[in-house]
Symmetry: D2
Subunit: 137 residues, 4 copies
């Protein structure tokens, strides 16, 4: 519970700045702790590409930021990204609710590695995208 | 020249929607044609992470969208992303001007592959990040 | 059971050629079916890098080939690779037995996407590496 | 010249062990120095997949090992891999000669980042694959 509140506070802090994380202001943290963080977001106009589906750049931003929340639940600093990859499997559309599940694969002294799955709750929980994020702590 | 104007019009169209591409509204197209597109952007508050450097999610969005502009200069449709990766090498800060250079490695009948280099014009043109984008046409 | 035998036969066929897959001749298929394939291998001298740990190139080869076995359990052809990525988390040494778990994330009409986890059975089943493979079918 | 000879000696040392690098015994170093290393290899039976084209696992091994040679030309240790990615663009066949060009993007105190292009000299120098390798030094 402590880490759930901490993750919510941290996300609020991120999205409350004038910075780029304000694009995540519709994201809600559902659970957080032990290197894992689960969020959800309803897709609205501001999340779409010109083809009216979830923008790949926002998907990558979710991989980046929600994996960082997962790392912070391990009492580690957020670190600096070295590598991100995202594989896109299915489109998602306005009105769909997606869940973002970030899970630390390893958090060592020097590096952290996080997998992120993004599911479509409005479409049978099918996998929309999967990403991996490597950070130098 | 025709493709430069076309790329400018397309980027304007993207960023003029209510969608996510509006985060790219400070991007300027410098050149475009023959599978290559070069842009620049001055980093301002809205592009930063909580550590006050260029946000990795925006970097990934630049890889996504500017590579797509490069593909469209080859008279192909923008396609659908299958994979994106980004390697982050150096931070960049508010006030820095970055250049984004997207170059198609191959545009075939089915797939397009684009490399994107992002340099810091305000710091000796050093490489900030490099990404690769694979799309199904 | 049918698909287990089919996967074993296919791997035997691969490793029995004069080709590069002969590097996988120590790999055993433990289970296969429904888009998933689990294998194991004991690490010996021929699998090591100069630092005497499991070679990253062999790890990538396992991601490549075992994910392809997983795809074939779905009654699809093996396809052609477009992208592979591997994240390396822990070294493994001579004598360790590793398990390789490949699971299709999506097999569509055009593209297949597979995640591969590699664990060290001799070290608490800890994750050594994770990779993802995208193929055009 | 000193670093060319050093790279040749190092590759010879790698391929002369009982380890996995022996799969690279046909690779020749053409030039090496200042964070760059260029090699070539003629494709023979032992490099092929079941479809009789250059095996993706060997391509990834080339990305891994030749980028490491490039790092060592900067007077740094070879380091430990954290991430590798490879994008496959064109097949190559038996008898083709490929060139492998590894170039360090950045070698810092903690991390090294290397791009690797693989061209087909027997087919108009077309790009077969591109990879990127991130190492912790």
């Amino acid at each position: 519970m402590a880490s759930l509140q901490a993750a919510r506070n941290l996300l609020r802090y991120f999205t409350g700045t004038k910075g780029f994380d304000s694009v995540l202001k519709q994201v809600k943290v559902l659970s957080a702790g032990d290197g894992k963080c689960t969020c959800e977001m309803e897709i609205s106009d501001e999340h779409l590409n010109a083809g009216e589906t979830l923008h790949g750049g926002l998907t990558a931003t979710l991989v980046d930021s929600i994996s960082t929340l997962a790392i912070t639940t391990t009492e580690n600093p957020p670190g600096m990204s070295t590598d991100i990859n995202v594989t896109y499997m299915r489109p998602a559309k306005k009105g769909d609710t997606i869940s973002i599940v970030a899970e630390c694969l390893k958090v060592g002294r020097t590096m952290a590695f996080v997998n992120v799955d993004i599911f479509n709750k409005s479409n049978g929980n099918k996998l929309i995208a999967q990403g991996r994020h490597t950070k130098l702590l």
